[in-house]
Symmetry: C2
Subunit: 235 residues, 2 copies
DNA sequence: CAGGCAGTTTGCGCTGGCGCAAATAGCCGC
DNA sequence: GCGGCTATTTGCGCCAGCGCAAACTGCCTG
């Protein structure tokens, strides 16, 4: 059964393409399910496909030779990921793990050249994606160089929540399970410190948190926290 | 006077192109000199061109809203830089400052689409460049999350030296002026800490350093330092 | 519904590395 | 050769946040 073009018609990656184009693009893709905690691809693995997340959330994790893990980002619905081919890489630089049950479209790398040349808008969109990843990653380096742990965590929460937040009566909730450890691995700290800060914020009524769950009840206050920077150069 | 193709013929960015192609590419470029400490482009500035460094060394610097600076990387001879256009960005995400007197080739952004489509190998090379920048930046995040300052500085020195080292009787010297502050801004620390560590290494005979100058006399020992990691997970 | 496990909280002590400040030392221009 | 500027070194005190360890708590499973 061919994939329905409505799956991807609204996505920024395919902006400016008509129905026929979408069908052509989809004809090269296959869709698959990944249950929670399963790996879409692994770090250092031979890159054979590139992907689009149709539904769910995916954690992109880099593991160091000594076994330390760092979460590079979360992929949300509609995003391209694993586009090693677009950067001329032959292996995936990180692994991708389903944070919840996910549905993913996969294209074989062999489709890349064709899609890119037939639908330049699609290629451009992929390159824009890479550009923003680079931008974000550089911003993260900056943040780690100049901000305290508290600000970094506040900022990370705001980022996640704005990307993958679900409104509830109590506030905005991160709509996938996330542990203190996960947050620590996104911000370069330890689960202990994350736990302490979340507790403090809970006392101040800024967040509510539970097992693998964080709800931001006062985003504005959290923004203030994230902006209260360490003393910088005078100007 | 047209630019001579020998300027760029050996560079990886133009691998696989013949003399006529090179001339065509060069015909769209103009060459300019940037004296030490002058800015090739500024952060947030409208991106109007992309560049190739013919000679010299360029410092890529990001400045935070509070005035903190971070050195994202050094560009060495033969590298493309400022290729915001390839990522669909309209402004430069960082500024580029000549670390020494530099000679630079600049293409107007309007040449990008044409060059990319006429010479796919050139486009691919640019995308590979971006891919490795992303890779490196992510590795840096990892490093900052998991390693101590000492290891980070050791690693940074090794990286610079392998990229821009000049052999001298005493060891390998960084062949552009670099201050303790610069090293601090590459590694997310302070010039004080850098100075202390360099002094310690000097006592151990691993480096020799002077005003805006660092010579690695014992790269192997420095590698050992950079690999002596903080205790990690058991496996 | 009894365990057991994974995730979380919290206390406590310690230390890497920062912040500040002052002294020193190359280098450049005059 | 004399300032004066900029880069560097170094001492000292302090504290954010880590490491360790122990207790706790939902939640899932049998």
């Amino acid at each position: 059964m061919p994939l329905d073009r409505s799956l991807i018609s609204g996505l920024p990656a395919f902006a400016g393409l008509d129905g026929k184009d979408l069908d052509a693009i989809l004809s090269r893709a296959r869709s698959s399910r990944f249950p929670k905690d399963s790996e879409v691809f692994g770090q250092e693995e031979e890159a054979t496909s590139f992907f689009l997340l149709l539904s769910g959330h995916i954690r992109v994790v880099r593991t160091s030779p000594e076994g330390h893990q760092v979460i590079a980002r979360y992929i949300t619905e509609g995003e391209l990921f694993g586009i090693a081919i677009a950067m001329g890489r032959t292996t995936y630089p990180a692994s991708a793990v389903a944070a919840v049950d996910c549905v993913v479209l996969a294209w074989p790398n062999s489709a890349w050249a064709e899609l890119q040349s037939r639908f330049p808008a699609f290629g451009a969109s992929a390159y824009r994606t890479i550009g923003s990843r680079l931008q974000e990653t550089q911003a993260q380096v900056m943040e780690m160089s100049t901000q305290q742990v508290e600000q970094r965590i506040a900022h990370a929460l705001l980022r996640i929540v704005s990307q993958s937040g679900r409104k509830t009566p109590e506030g905005i909730e991160i709509d996938f399970p996330i542990t203190r450890q996960d947050i620590a691995e996104m911000t370069g700290t330890t689960l202990h410190t994350v736990s302490r800060l979340l507790s403090a914020w809970e006392d101040q009524g800024i967040v509510r948190s539970g097992r693998q769950k964080v709800t931001v009840t006062d985003p504005h206050a959290l923004m203030l926290v994230s902006e209260h920077r360490r003393k910088g150069p005078a100007a």
